[in-house]
Symmetry: C2
Subunit: 317 residues, 2 copies
């Protein structure tokens, strides 16, 4: 399959390496990579050190020359809008190209519309790695739990805030904690995107859009963050055997309305939500037929695990 | 689909009720039920209160008269042998009938052979609910993680022992704890099957057979149980903030050999393994591509959740 990458950050580089290592097993050949700083093409497949020339004048110019069968969209997210990922995906659909994205923005902001467009173009649209890195969340419901309705979920979905709070509970400042999260490579460029709960809100919206037909956006999630937490408070909670977590919650009420929320919650250190160590995430679903169902993933040290799941991305459209 | 049930205990009854409630959605019609105390037939579909006549003279007589397309095997397990479930499954395969079982015995004792026989007969053999009740463990790997090798796993897979130990940590006797587990309907007929680790060993063998090609049996799992635990010890651990758990472990060594083990482990109450409350189970996989991957399921109060997953049973053959 002729494969094109849009964006070439850490995840894209690791993914390209993985595809290269597994090229005898999986039929993907990277024929083009487009990033702001330059564009690379090779019909025979780009190697591990692609040579970038001048950037293509436009995404359409890139797609026209690369002629991919599938586009893998891995650009940096603008959390307020889901752009430019949404435009990239639409440009690919318009040319009849399948799209896989690891970007939660398009799913959090425009899931239903993008699904309709993919169906109309008769192409696949996959996005499993947008939430919980490599853990198959969307596919678990789609492939394995077809009779199961999701009434709600509870998740600890942001790694950076966990690292920061853990540092503060040891007596360090928020800034120390942010540096720690950046040092292990998991903090987003702007750590307050995590601290203020925007990352969690985007994941909450994405999960609700796909699994609960929410038709929502991150801005519509009731959101409060951790910015006002002080080291004194954090240490105090630690002394009392408690953790502070940024918890995502979705609840469908009896009347059918859907409540989506991200907020700090204080729980005992023995609570399941609190025991998923380090940068790991945890997600608990409230379902009809299955009772409460837990879905957790331990990602030691890096969101780079998301690349693991790009290939088997969720297919919900 | 003409559906026959072999065995008619709590899980089978709940499953029959579910199929009846969902008969407009799923095309299953129960045309026969065979249990030791009697056999029932109805070509138009048995209702919620089947009338049992004399038991069929043999399983073959039952299958000959019921003419099912699919057999659902739900008899009581003989943990030492996996019988009579294995014979029932073979009898169905020999007649070209698909089989779904919620019985871990056949998977723990004879998985590879049964798979070969199913393939030869060109029928399906499914068994998702044999481990972790309704949580799709086998399907998660089969459907959603195809490139992922399982190198090992760590699980807390037995609910009865958890309830019993929790009671003992509150100062009660083992007998009190067993009565508690029986009162909430989760203890096996012989609670020492759970306490001595046989249930965990069977689940360990089943997981290893399916996900790690172990070709093993419960007897080959290194096993020690909780029978010698005293209330004094349990209370002492509780005072020290520790839990005692029957932990299942599988580890593939560098030389390729596979070590399977069930034994009591003492862990802090803040350990993830210890925080899955009540009768819930937890399973953590050690994989190549995915790092450590957690798979948990919260089954409030009863193994009857296993019925939820009978229909979407694992398909590994």
């Amino acid at each position: 399959l002729r494969t094109a990458l849009i964006g070439y950050g850490n995840v894209a580089k690791a993914f390209a390496r993985l595809l290269f290592d597994k090229r005898s097993v999986y039929p993907f050949r990277i024929v083009g990579i487009h990033q702001r700083r330059g564009t690379a093409y090779d019909d025979h497949g780009l190697g591990l050190e692609p040579q970038f020339g001048e950037p293509a004048g436009s995404l359409n110019e890139f797609l026209e020359r690369a002629q991919p069968d599938v586009v893998i969209e891995l650009t940096n997210l603008n959390p307020d809008s889901g752009q430019p990922a949404i435009s990239h995906i639409r440009a690919a659909f318009a040319r009849g190209i399948h799209v896989i994205t690891a970007n939660k923005g398009p799913i959090a902001h425009a899931y239903a519309a993008l699904c309709r467009e993919a169906r109309r173009a008769q192409v696949e649209f996959r996005f499993e790695s947008t939430v919980m890195d490599g853990a198959p969340v969307f596919n678990q419901f789609r492939n394995n739990l077809p009779g199961v309705n999701v009434f709600g979920f509870t998740g600890v979905l942001n790694s950076t805030s966990k690292i920061v709070v853990a540092a503060m509970q040891r007596g360090l400042t928020m800034e120390d904690g942010i540096r720690e999260a950046q040092a292990i490579g998991i903090a987003e460029a702007d750590a307050f995107y995590d601290i203020d709960g925007w990352d969690s809100a985007a994941k909450t919206a994405a999960l609700a859009n796909v699994l609960m037909d929410a038709g929502t956006t991150p801005q519509q999630v009731m959101r409060s963050g951790l910015r006002d937490l002080t080291t004194e408070q954090a240490v105090e909670y630690a002394r009392a055997g408690q953790s502070i977590l940024l918890v995502s919650r979705a609840m469908r009420s009896e009347d059918g309305s859907l409540k989506l929320q991200v907020r700090p919650e204080v729980v005992p250190q023995t609570d399941l939500l609190a025991t998923v160590a380090g940068s790991s995430n945890l997600l608990l679903f409230h379902t009809g037929l299955m009772g409460n169902y837990r879905h957790g993933f331990y990602s030691p040290g890096s969101g780079a695990n998301s690349l693991r799941n790009i290939q088997r991305s969720g297919r919900y459209c």
